[in-house]
């Protein structure tokens, strides 16, 4: 590959460097200039974490071949304000709490700056359009909108600059809107995530992943890869010194597949090499012979005689949680109405903006240190100790800044082979996932299929709830056991129900593993309960709030797992939500067309995508 000679101005400084012909502006900024405030979230122009100004125009630097930017003036997040200072936009992000994990924030700050540079009077709709190419997974955007409107008003002198200062603290720091202490490092791009870390002599890791959903591995031949100059270590299951197997509840997942792969994307071998490109080439040079096996993708089929994934689970059931209280048959017999309905929920990707990454190295005393955005360094330390066959105090897990987790960074699916590559090569090794790799390799939210049956008296009292839930746990256990448990415990909702029968069954299939995700099984089961209650409310002519109040747990209630509660606040939150929304009561009988509480305060305008009219006059016009 021929190199290009690139000369440009970056944040006001002249830069002259050579760059690979096919490299992107993003690569040049991050790798050659070490300006890591510009992040890579997707590499496909879909997320905006890499937004930079090129000659004053905001672009996604992952979509710009570096050659296009030759001779240009580049401005990155690091260049927005002088060192140790912040622009009004950055200060406003700090003030309003607009940064959470912070990974999207440099791009978001750039998009906000671009929007206000183009039109310092931009209204909320224009601001939303200006941010339309930048995904945030943490904040729900609201505090970001607030920040941009605040910055706009400060810039225009509509509000004093002191509006950017921290709110005064009253009697106590607890209950005060103390500004986030980590926000300045996030809004300026100073914070380094694992993928931004660079250490001398560092190697780059790439991974060979299974193209098959279910197959035997007949042979792995790494000899060609190992012979390549610049390849410093090739790691397979044969290199694992200790007892392999990880998982939050059951240790059924191999660090690297041995004799069998169970899902598309499962890691089989890892290569550490001098460059990422070389490691990718070396991965392609590894030869694997597979024998494909029949696969199963539906949990119900898996439970009824489908191909078996794990020897210890001949019925493919990962975990079953039963909840029994009272006698549901008796409850149904007492009911005036019985309502049955099926529900299903889809698997979901966490989509944290920071793809997984890690950096591992051996310390002088033989300790192996692993930096990664892990949500569970304690558990990972224990598992790594067992897998690497090293004492617990020789495993040092460091939680690098986490660019969003939502449960998806609880599984230790790469830290151990990264450590092995560092131990085997004797060099620091860094591994940065692509977005596509993150999506196929990491666990998802469990999809659920739910059979629901509820009996009620005419007055709305629930006499019995029966729920049968089957969930696709994918190829490995991950957090399935815990997800089934939380789902089952909370399934029937915050209601006092004398007779409850709940079954939650997690099942192995050859799909991508399912694991922990925010609201951990309860989202799925409570979705069905809260949909079901509205169906019942319509049949009984009851307002949705009313049917819930009739059934809600009171202080001292006994839960479905027969736990006696203390104070129960469900009545309070029902009242508050009803009041603040100005809810017009009535049974849920498709009242939309006639109800009077629509369109009030607290609604945004529907998005109509009207073209903006911030026309810049073309030269001819200016002359005229």
């Amino acid at each position: 590959m021929a190199d290009l000679n690139i000369s440009m101005t970056v944040n006001g400084r002249a830069v002259e460097k050579s760059a690979a012909a096919g490299s992107r502006l993003l690569d040049f900024i991050r790798n050659d200039l070490n300006l890591t405030g510009t992040k890579e979230g997707c590499g496909a122009g879909e997320c905006g974490t890499c937004s930079v100004f090129v000659d004053g125009v905001l672009v996604k630097s992952c979509m710009v071949p570096v050659a296009k930017a030759d001779g240009a003036e580049i401005e990155t997040v690091e260049g927005l304000a002088p060192r140790r200072q912040m622009t009004p936009v950055q200060r406003a992000f700090h003030k309003t709490g607009a940064s959470q994990c912070g990974y999207c924030i440099p791009g978001m700050v750039m998009a906000a700056s671009a929007t206000l540079r183009e039109n310092p009077q931009a209204d909320l709709e224009e601001i939303k359009q200006g941010l339309g190419g930048n995904i945030c997974r943490c904040t729900g955007y609201q505090k970001i909108f607030e920040a941009v409107e605040l910055a706009r008003d400060v810039i225009n002198g509509k509000v004093p600059e002191t509006a950017l200062d921290e709110d005064e603290v009253g009697e106590s720091f607890i209950g005060a809107n103390v500004r986030r202490l980590d926000a300045p490092s996030k809004v300026t791009g100073a914070l380094r995530y694992a993928g931004d870390m660079v250490v001398p002599t560092m190697l780059h890791l790439q991974v060979l992943r299974s193209p098959h959903a279910h197959a035997l591995i007949k042979s792995i031949d790494t000899s060609d890869a190992e012979a390549m100059a610049g390849v410093e270590a090739v790691v397979t299951a044969a290199d694992i010194p200790g007892e392999d197997g990880y998982g939050v509840f059951v240790h059924d997942q191999p660090t690297l597949a041995t004799d069998k792969v169970r899902y598309v994307g499962e890691a089989i071998a890892a290569v550490a090499a001098e460059t990422e490109a070389l490691a990718r080439d070396a991965v392609k040079a590894i030869k694997i012979e597979y024998e494909e096996l029949p696969a199963v993708f539906d949990p119900h089929e898996a439970m009824s005689g489908g191909p078996i994934l794990h020897d210890y689970a001949q019925d493919n059931v990962t975990y079953h949680v039963p909840i029994r209280k009272g006698d549901v048959e008796k409850g149904f017999a007492e009911a005036d109405v019985i309502v049955e309905q099926d529900y299903d929920t889809q698997p979901i990707e966490h989509a944290y903006l920071e793809p997984e990454a890690g950096l591992a190295y051996e310390e002088a005393d033989g300790t192996i240190t692993i930096h990664s955005p892990s949500q569970n360094i304690t558990h990972h330390r224990h598992a790594a100790s067992r897998i690497l066959g090293m004492p617990v105090n020789k495993i040092r897990m460091i939680m690098s800044p986490v660019g969003g987790g939502f449960g998806g960074k609880e599984d230790m699916h790469y830290q151990c082979f990264l450590a092995l590559a560092a131990l085997k090569s004797g060099r620091p090794v860094r591994y940065v996932f692509t977005r596509e790799e993150s999506i196929i390799a990491s666990a998802k939210r469990h999809g659920f299929k739910i059979r629901y049956k509820m009996g009620l008296k005419k007055n709305g009292r629930i006499t019995a709830t029966e729920m049968y839930m089957v969930s696709d746990g994918g190829a490995y256990g991950c957090s399935t056991e815990g997800v089934m448990r939380k789902s089952a415990i909370l399934a029937a909702g915050p209601y006092d129900i004398p007779n409850v029968k709940v079954d939650t069954i997690g099942v192995y299939t050859n799909n991508t593993p399912a694991g922990a995700m925010r609201a951990f099984g309860a989202l799925q089961s409570e979705f069905s309960t809260e949909s079901h209650l509205d169906i019942c409310a319509e049949k009984l002519g009851l307002d949705p709030f009313e049917i819930r109040r009739i059934n809600m747990m009171q202080d001292g209630a006994i839960t479905h797992t027969r736990q006696k509660l203390g104070s129960v606040s469900i009545g309070q939150v029902l009242d508050e939500a009803e009041k603040v929304s100005g809810w017009e009561s009535g049974a849920p009988t498709v009242r939309g067309p006639v109800r009077k509480d629509l369109g009030g305060d607290g609604n945004r305008e529907p998005c109509t995508l009207v073209p903006r009219h911030t026309t810049t006059a073309s030269p001819e016009e200016e002359v005229a």
Binding site: L4, G22, R24, V57, P65, E437, V610
Partner: protein, 304 residues
């Protein structure tokens, strides 16, 4: 990942043709790169090596907007954001700001070019139906063949395919000013920004001097078949007729069978009817013509 040995930025059409000749099959043309880079990723083409990339965005002939008399000429490297910002384009190509605001996002619109959107020939291209509704003519150029002109309607021949020959470039897009026309663009995907069209409809129309009859109606549809298409059957039914809700409704039902997609057929058939109707009404509204209420029985049509 995309990888190349040489990335060339010709400064003239002649230099570009020279590069094409020198490198032959080893070369590929690139403009905004916003289709090429995402294509060379896992899950799509994977790792792609193209020996020579020839970037045509710095060629003067492919840049600039010129209004000569009633005829507008845009360089093929014009980026979509320009339709929102350039007052000449806003006035004379009234459908394009509506297309642009739906096209990807502010930042990609600064890179993505009209020529690139045409050559990429996606069935769901947003730019193409807009240009079809403007009855645009594409100016193609090659070293051996010189210049030829193709109506945009005849340009795409299938997903990723067009009538463009090897060694040929789109140099410019030309169309008559539609300054007095009403225009609209209807689109649906799975969200409101950065989204691929499931269905989109571009409408450009004009009433006669009395302001009661359709004089010129041009409607183009994308997302529902292998290539975007002009809805001549609707246009013919409307032209010269008095504007009424009943007439618009009848015309909107004509293109149902244009839906030839492999998936989501029922959905698209239903949306096409609604979008043609809504597109005409909104284009009329943009020139101050209010159609009045429609009968509300319109929704059963998709199965008809």
């Amino acid at each position: 990942m995309l990888d190349c040995d040489q990335y060339l930025l010709p400064k003239s059409l002649d230099e570009a043709f020279g590069f094409l000749e020198t490198h032959g099959d080893a070369a590929q043309i690139v403009a905004g790169a916003t289709d090429l880079l995402p294509w060379a990723r896992e899950g799509r083409a994977g790792d792609v090596h193209i020996p020579v990339l020839i970037d045509i965005t710095r060629i003067p002939e492919l840049n600039g907007v010129a209004l000569e008399g009633n005829r507008l000429r845009l360089g093929a490297a014009t980026v979509f954001q320009k339709f929102l910002k350039d007052s000449v384009l806003r006035e004379h190509a009234p459908v394009m700001p509506h297309v642009a605001v739906w096209f990807a996002d502010d930042q990609l619109r600064q890179s993505a070019t009209i020529g690139g959107n045409l050559v990429n020939a996606s069935p769901a291209a947003d730019g193409t139906p807009g240009l079809m509704a403007l009855d645009a003519e594409l100016v193609l150029h090659s070293r051996t063949g010189g210049e030829r002109r193709v109506n945009v309607t005849d340009f795409p021949t299938g997903p990723s395919f067009s009538v463009l020959n090897n060694g040929e470039l789109i140099v410019a897009v030309e169309f008559d000013s539609a300054a007095e026309y009403g225009a609209s663009f209807e689109k649906v995907g799975h969200r409101r920004s950065l989204v691929i069209s499931t269905v989109c409809v571009a409408t450009v129309l004009k009433l006669d001097e009395v302001g009661q009859n359709f004089e010129d109606v041009r409607i183009a549809l994308a997302g529902v078949g292998p290539v975007p298409v002009r809805l001549s059957e609707c246009e013919e039914m409307l032209s010269g007729k008095t504007v009424t809700a009943a007439l618009i409704d009848a015309a909107a039902h004509l293109p149902i069978d244009r839906v030839q997609s492999r998936t989501r057929q029922d959905y698209r058939r239903e949306v096409v009817v609604s979008f043609v109707r809504r597109g005409i009404v909104e284009a009329l509204a943009s020139i101050g013509c209010d159609v009045g209420p429609f009968e509300t029985q319109e929704l059963e049509t998709a199965n008809g």
